[in-house]
Amino acid sequence: MEEGHGVARPTLTERLRPAILLGPLGIHYLLFFFMPLVYMLGSSFLKFESGFATEELTLYNYQRFLFDSFYLRVLVNTLAMSLVVSSLTTVLGYPVAYFLVRMRSRWRSTLVAMVYSPLLTSVVARTYGWLIILDDTGIVNQILLGLGIVDEPVRLVFNFTGVTIGLTHVLLPYSVFCIMTALQNMSPTLEYASMNLGAGKLRTFVKVTLPLSMSGVVTGFLFVFSMAVSAWSTPAILGGQNVEVMATLVYSFFLGSVNWPFASAIATISMAVSMTIVLLSGLVTGKSSVGGF
């Protein structure tokens, strides 16, 4: 009888099955992922006194961050840099996405894999590559000095310029893929219709293609933005001592100080910023943008 179509009510074990299947991973996450995060949140409200975290609760750690122009400037710098990076990835990524979606050649899947491949290579290797290119004695400066365009090396690294270049490079593939998804979901007949009605290629692009792919542009922009806000490796390596962003701040306060309650507050603020962007992205695109993009 149970084989009957949808007549029999599911048994209790049947209904509990999804929970049972999720159980082991759920417990693993709870113990080693959610508990640490909750512990950090709790710690951020603890009062720190003469070298130790006390049991006393306080909002001081957050006040200290929010009323100090140094920390606020780090936050603003991080957001500004991320804004530049996500704009750059969008501008550079759009033509590539458009080209890859429209091309009809057997090389297409190879080129798509090529766009993906930087995501599989380590950030350290790619960042070190940029260091060789952008450093004072690097390739760009060797060329500029050699051609006599400049008299002394241009500072391209260990500042926000270097970090912006590096992050744009690291995050560009995400932007390309988000825009590609939107372009693929768009019916090409709309473009044919526009061109049949006499609009040129450029006009069709501006009036039809671009507006219809906006969802991908926005998703990509916000995705890259959220990744840039929380990036550590690129700012740490290409920024050196001169660049402080939220992630490097979290790192240096956890490993360079004993005031973990304040470090936890910085980390919590950093997480809140990132989650806001992810939620915003969910609102804009009407779907949860977590995991699949």
């Binding site: 099955r17 929970a19 299947l21 999720l22 159980g23 082991p24 991973l25 693993h28 996450y29 080693f32 992922f33 640490p36 995060l37 512990y39 950090m40 080209f99 899947s109 080129l111 798509v112 894999a113 090529m114 993906y116 599989l120 290579t121 380590s122 950030v123 350290v124 290797a125 070190y128 590559g129 260091l131 060789i132 290119i133 390739i139 060797q142 560009l172 593939p173 590609m180 998804t181 290629k201 959220s226 550590w232 490796s233 939220m246 992630a247 979290v250 790192y251 956890f254 490993l255 973990w260 936890s264 980390a267 919590t268 997480m271 990132s274 989650m275 977590v290 995991g291 699949g292 993009f293």
Partner: protein
Amino acid sequence: MELSREYLLSAVLRVAVALVFAFLFLPIVVILVASLSGEQYIIRIPPTSISLRWFLEAFDRYWMEPLQLSLVIGIVSVILVLPISVLASFSLARYEFKGKQITSSAIYSPITLPAIVVGAAMLQFFTLALGLRGSFTTLLIGHTIVVAPYVVQYVIVSLQQHRIRNLEWAAMNLGAGRAEVFWKVTFPLIKPGIFAGATFGFITSFNNIPVSLFLIRPGMVTIPIKIIQYLEYGYSPVLAAVCVVTLFIVAVAIAIAERVGQFTKFLQVQF
């Protein structure tokens, strides 16, 4: 007139795309060239001399120990987390239940949340709440969390192939029991997905920086962190050689995954 303008537009597009591709591959090409450089400090492109001596230097214990640790951590964390991730994927791909959306966001959240915050939170929790110092175990636990969401993501994709459901029904109608259906029908069909997820998980762990950063201790450092630590003192072409070795390991992992299941196909499905 109109035709030549269209031609111009498409030429501009092609040039723009070629430039972006050049930008994407520039640092990797530079690393490859630098690793073969015969010079000591300054890396000239094109190089004035070529040698393999940096690779010989890269095969020193100084670099091989961290490399070995990264390999072991990557492989063991994937193996540990694989069975429980596959079970969870079944739940998300096959069942409708209350709070499914939140559950899946929660499972993917190690990807979405700032990794540096996750690493820092683990350090604090392991040290203060569990009394654990940085060790192989803590590093391994941290990496299981890094790896799990990717495995789940890939297995869900492979479970969503349409023909799996039909073949399972067919097997059941022919009288196969639940276990038999799983081992004889479902598992062989999702094996490429599991393998792709495991490979992607391994690569993510192998390249991971922000979580490792907090869970290492002196004498037990993963390879990306070792490179960063070395960078603080200045650079030498040996670093480029070490980077090339790590890139080679990732390439081998992908080649194996490509043979066992179509790894590159899965990469495109993900988006």
